[in-house]
């Protein structure tokens, strides 16, 4: 039998083990949300790695309430926001939207949703990402963004409305 080694062999307390569990089970979801925020695959990987590194360094401050995963999501969103700010990635001006959305079949697909999402207010974008990419419910999104669950619903509706308006503007 192959000798089994523990990847999490430096575990010095069980919060670290729990973090490892969250990391392995949720890695691709974390990566997806990070990529949605930073718009760069490589940078997104860094964001996820840095998120968990920060969580490990700050694990003694984890309060044990609200759930470990929600705490991680909160760190990830902040880390991704900082990464966007530090990398000074170009933002898509609103006036470019119409051109980019006008595709041959009139359907915004693939990267064509990108400028529309980029133009949404930050909170709407984050709520969308956490809802669809992370599959978090309203309460957890509220925990992550530190807003009320009712605000999550309202923000999601606003984001939907914005997407609907944009889609209707696309020639069909």
């Amino acid at each position: 039998m192959a000798r089994v080694e523990q990847t999490v062999r430096m575990t010095e307390d069980s919060t670290l083990a729990a973090l490892a569990n969250v990391y392995f089970h949720g890695y691709r979801r974390f990566l997806r949300v990070a990529e949605a925020i930073v718009r760069d695959g490589e940078l997104a990987k860094d964001v996820v790695q840095d998120t968990f590194a920060r969580a490990i360094r700050g694990r003694f401050d984890y309060r044990g309430d609200g759930g470990l995963e929600a705490w991680i999501w909160r760190i990830l969103v902040n880390t991704a926001r900082n990464a966007v700010r530090d990398s000074r990635l170009p933002q898509v001006p609103l006036y470019e939207l119409a051109d980019e959305l006008a595709t041959s079949d009139g359907q915004p697909a693939g990267g064509e949703l990108r400028p529309l999402l980029a133009a949404l207010p930050e909170r709407q974008r984050l709520v969308l990402f956490l809802r669809y990419y992370a599959d978090l419910d309203y309460r957890r999104i509220a925990d992550v963004l530190e807003i009320k669950p009712g605000t999550v619903g309202a923000t999601l509706n606003q984001a939907h409305a914005a997407v609907r308006r944009a889609l209707k503007e696309v020639p069909r």
Binding site: A2, T7, T11, D13, A17, A18, R28, R32, I56, R63
Partner: protein
């Protein structure tokens, strides 16, 4: 889901694809966090178990750093009024401190308890103890007894919100005469406006920090000392609650004293809550007692009912697996209750584990067995090869501390059928019988009593296994301005290192790389640097930078390369090292293989061999 939802979902689906092939890289996370450094003193590399603690290679929640800052002496004489300490906590032992909460609050508590995977046994009666309000935030201290647990709950509401719950085992009151027990230290509430930059990151202080606990009759007040001075709070309902408003970053209560009704004071041992990037729980002064030799060697033990997949304990339902991130596709899962008087449970699952890797970095084909301690909405634990559960000792070993500011460690795990009885021996001279049922064990020990030793006995009373928690450098809180900055550059990256003094008399350093060395690393070393006088690491892979620190007596360092070349360098002030490896030695054939730390007279003080990463 509405049509619009579907439309949005479809568009989002295409916008950022789900990367099924993306590979997680936990060692890289550990490297960035500097965890390897803090634990074993070899910076920046996850050399961990394989190099330093080979005997623990199957890790089970590897026990952490030991024990406590014994803030004040245990031997301070007590006033006559509190000589019989257990009796003096009688209100708590009866479960009747303070006043009962309203019927509505009790019902809400009962309902929440009934829903919990780690429900408190019995029908605990929630009691209102103390209420205070500071800076627009109200703080309610509640308490109850359940089984063998004395619990407090702090609820913050208003400008900042949050709640926490922590418990002490009743047995703790019998271990010594201390008339005050700290159950929670510096639990953070909300976001404050004070920040501090440490290394390359900015840390923000909370809006407030809460310290709370229970007191015996005859205690009139509790004095707490932190960076802002000494603070006295009254004892009300055999309890105390101290709220530090607008603390500094890493501010901590460092001393606690009980003030007795007869005018005397008694030092209260407790554990200073670790903060920020460095340090651990500290190291107690004593050594755990108990047996020192194994009388009958037992290896390769099994658990019969697990091998047979008997349905012991309770089933592990799907929602629990999801909630606690246990093995998602476990073929077998049970929830065990080693101590019916505790709210905590132990889940055992068998299946493929994402945590295990072979030496080649692949998932093993054989199943893993994982154990998790379920408590307060979270789980902690680890996995090991199911085929070889107990390679060295007939039990898994480790402890967990759940929340920020908690003062008790939960020792929990599983033991083979060879084990008839388990005992814990603490550094403060206590012996604790460990509940063991269905091969699962669980015991709670004050962090201030660590290090601790777990001893297993067979049916004839022979010692068949001993494990002891390691000791670490203790709390390390960087303070002030950097005392040193170093930077080194190579063609495809750079590494910067910045060092600080710590409040405790040691030093912490942080490193940040760019380019191919783009990771954060760091380490703290206490005032008494006893082990591993050469603590150097390499970045990236293949190595370009040598970084870290050597102890004061190391005046020169010899770098030895695989091709026989040698190179000598001198450490910077306080022993810090940051050095660029010559380009010709960045290949596998000519790589760096060893450091020698040399004293002033050329004598070799220490050697540090480097693993072959090829």
């Amino acid at each position: 889901m509405t049509d619009l939802d579907l439309l949005v979902a479809e568009a989002l689906e295409n916008d950022v694809p789900f990367r099924r092939d993306a590979e997680a890289d936990w060692p890289d996370v550990l490297r960035r966090a500097g965890v390897a450094v803090a634990f074993n003193g070899h910076p920046g590399r996850v050399v961990g178990a394989s190099a330093v603690r080979r005997s623990h290679r199957r890790w089970y929640a590897a026990a952490a750093t030991a024990a406590a800052l014994l803030a004040l002496s245990f031997v301070t004489p007590l006033g006559g009024a509190i000589r019989d300490t257990v009796a003096d906590f009688s209100d708590w032992l009866r479960g009747t401190p303070g006043e009962p909460v309203s019927g509505e609050e009790q019902r809400a508590f009962d309902e929440a308890n009934a829903r919990s995977y780690a429900a408190f046994p019995g029908s605990p009666e929630l009691r209102r103890l103390i209420r205070t309000e500071i800076d627009g935030v109200s703080y309610d201290l509640l308490g109850f007894r359940s089984g063998n647990s004395l619990c407090i709950r702090v609820v913050a509401a208003g400008e900042a919100r949050g709640s926490t719950l922590t418990c002490a085992p009743v047995g703790e009151l019998r271990h010594d005469d201390t008339p005050v027990r700290v159950l929670l230290a510096d639990w953070p509430v909300g976001k404050g406006d004070k920040t501090a930059r440490l290394g390359f990151e900015t840390y923000r202080a909370p809006l407030a920090q809460v310290t709370a606990g229970i007191a015996a009759d005859g205690v009139s007040g509790v004095e707490l000392v932190d960076e802002h001075g000494s603070h006295r709070v009254d004892v009300v309902a055999n309890s105390f609650l101290y709220v530090a408003p607008r603390p500094e970053v890493a501010q901590r209560v460092t001393h606690v004293r009980a003030q007795l009704a007869d005018g005397g004071t008694v030092g209260v041992p407790f554990t200073v809550t670790p903060s920020g990037p460095g340090g651990g729980y500290g190291g107690g002064a004593g050594e755990p007692g108990g047996p020192t030799r194994v009388e009958r060697a037992v290896k390769g033990g099994r658990i019969g009912w697990v091998d047979r997949r008997d349905e012991r304990g309770e089933p592990l339902d799907e929602s629990a697996r999801e909630k606690f991130h246990l093995l998602a596709e476990a073929e077998f899962g049970r929830v065990l209750t080693p101590d019916p008087d505790s709210s905590k449970r132990i889940a055992i699952t068998i299946g493929e584990s994402p945590l295990l890797r072979t030496d080649a970095g692949e998932r093993p084909k054989r199943p893993a067995i994982c154990t998790s301690v379920l408590s307060r909405g979270t789980a902690s634990g680890g996995c090991m090869s199911f085929d070889d559960m107990f390679p060295d000792v007939p039990f898994t070993f480790g402890y967990s501390v759940v929340g920020a500011g908690d003062q008790f460690a939960t020792f929990a795990g599983i033991a083979s059928d060879d084990v008839a009885r388990l005992e814990l021996f603490t550094a403060t001279g206590n012996r604790i019988d460990v509940p063991l049922r269905d091969n699962a064990y669980l015991a709670e020990v004050a962090l201030a009593r660590l290090p601790a030793k777990l001893v297993a006995y067979d049916t004839e009373g022979r010692v068949i296994g001993i494990r002891e928690t390691p000791r670490d450098d203790g709390p390390a809180t960087p303070v002030g301005e950097p005392i040193l900055r170093l930077k080194a550059s190579a063609a495809d990256g750079s590494l910067e290192l910045v060092a600080y003094r710590t409040r405790e008399g040691g030093q912490c350093w942080f490193g940040r790389g760019t380019g191919t060395a783009r990771v954060n690393v760091g380490s703290c070393i206490g005032k008494d640097w006893r082990e591993a006088p050469v603590r150097l690491g390499l970045l990236p892979d293949p190595a370009v930078f040598v970084y870290g620190r050597v102890r004061d007596e190391v005046k020169r360092i010899t770098l030895r390369y695989a091709d026989g070349d040698e190179q000598r360098i001198e450490p910077e002030r306080d022993g810090y090292v940051l050095f660029v490896i010559p380009p010709e030695h960045r290949t596998q054939a000519r790589r760096l293989v060893e450091f020698w730390g040399l004293a002033f007279d050329g004598k070799v003080v220490a050697r540090q061999r480097l693993p072959d990463r090829g």
